[in-house]
Symmetry: C2
Subunit: 172 residues, 2 copies
Amino acid sequence: MSVIDDVLTANQQFAKSFNYSGLAMPPKRKLAVLACMDARLAVDQMLGLEPGDAHVIRNAGGIVTEDALRSLIISHYLLGTQEFMIINHTDCGMLTFKDEELRARLERETGVPAIVPAAFHAFADVQGNVARQIGRLRADPWIPRSIAIRGFVYDVSNGRLSEVRETRTLHA
Amino acid sequence: MSVIDDVLTANQQFAKSFNYSGLAMPPKRKLAVLACMDARLAVDQMLGLEPGDAHVIRNAGGIVTEDALRSLIISHYLLGTQEFMIINHTDCGMLTFKDEELRARLERETGVPAIVPAAFHAFADVQGNVARQIGRLRADPWIPRSIAIRGFVYDVSNGRLSEVRETRTLHA
C-alpha cells in the first residue's frame, strides 16, 4: 500500500468530522506566509493559524523565486493580504549542497542536460538568506510599499521563531 | 498591533509546549505534496500528516511551475521522497481572473510594465488543471519514472479529496 493510499484513508476520517465549511476565499487575517517546504515545519501550528486565516506558500528554502512572487502578487491584489512573513529554519537541507553539485548529479544520473530549473537556490547562511529574500520582495516594483514584510528563522530544535532584523538586509 | 505580532505571540505559546524536537530532516513517509496556497486548505490535517512526515510545497493554484519542479527535485534527490501528490481545490481564486487582466491591472496601478512573473497560471477548470500538472511532472526528464504521481481536487465544502484519474490527462 502506498503512502498516498494511506493519506487518502486519513482524509476519509478528516471529512467525517469536517467543520471548516463556509470559510471565505480571502484570508481572514490578511496574512501571507512564505516558508520552507521542510517536513518538520508545522506552519499553521507554529503560528497559531486556523483554516481560513492566511495564505501559505512553501518551496525548498523559503525563497522569493519568481513563482513565490507570483503567488504573493495574487495573494495581495486579488485576495487582499497586507502582511508578508518569510520563514526559513535551522538545519535546512539547502545548507547541505551546492547548486552545481546537484546539477552535475542530475545530468549524470538522468543523462539529460540541465535546462530548468535555472537555479536550485542552495545557500550557506540562513540569516543572510532571509535578509536577501526580504530585500528581493522590497525591491519588487509590483509589491506595494504599504505591505509589512518581515523575516524569521524557525529553530527546529525548540519551535521558536527569531526575527531577522532589517539592518541585516544592508549587510547581507 | 499587526497580525505578524499576533502570530509571534502565538509562537511563544507553541514553543512552550514544543514536542517535535529530534525529527530527522528527510520526510519520514517519503511523500511530497504540492498544494494550492489557499487559506482554507489545512494540508497536514486533511492528510493526517504529522510534523516530519512529508514535504509540503504550496503556490497559487498548486501549479507545477519551474519553482515547484525545483522543490520536488530537491525533495526526491536530496531527501528521498518517492511519491508526489498534487492537490488543487474547488472555489479556487485562480478560477476568478485571467492572466492578462491581472497583468494590465498591475501595470496600471504601479506604472511599472510587466517583466516577471512571466505567467500567473490562472485556469478555468480545476480537474483539467490537475491533469495538466500531472502531465508536466511525468514529462520532466529529471523526475524518475519510479515516482508515484497522483493528483486530487479537495472540496472546500466537505473536506474530501477526489482523485483526478490518469485518463483525464489524455483528454485535458
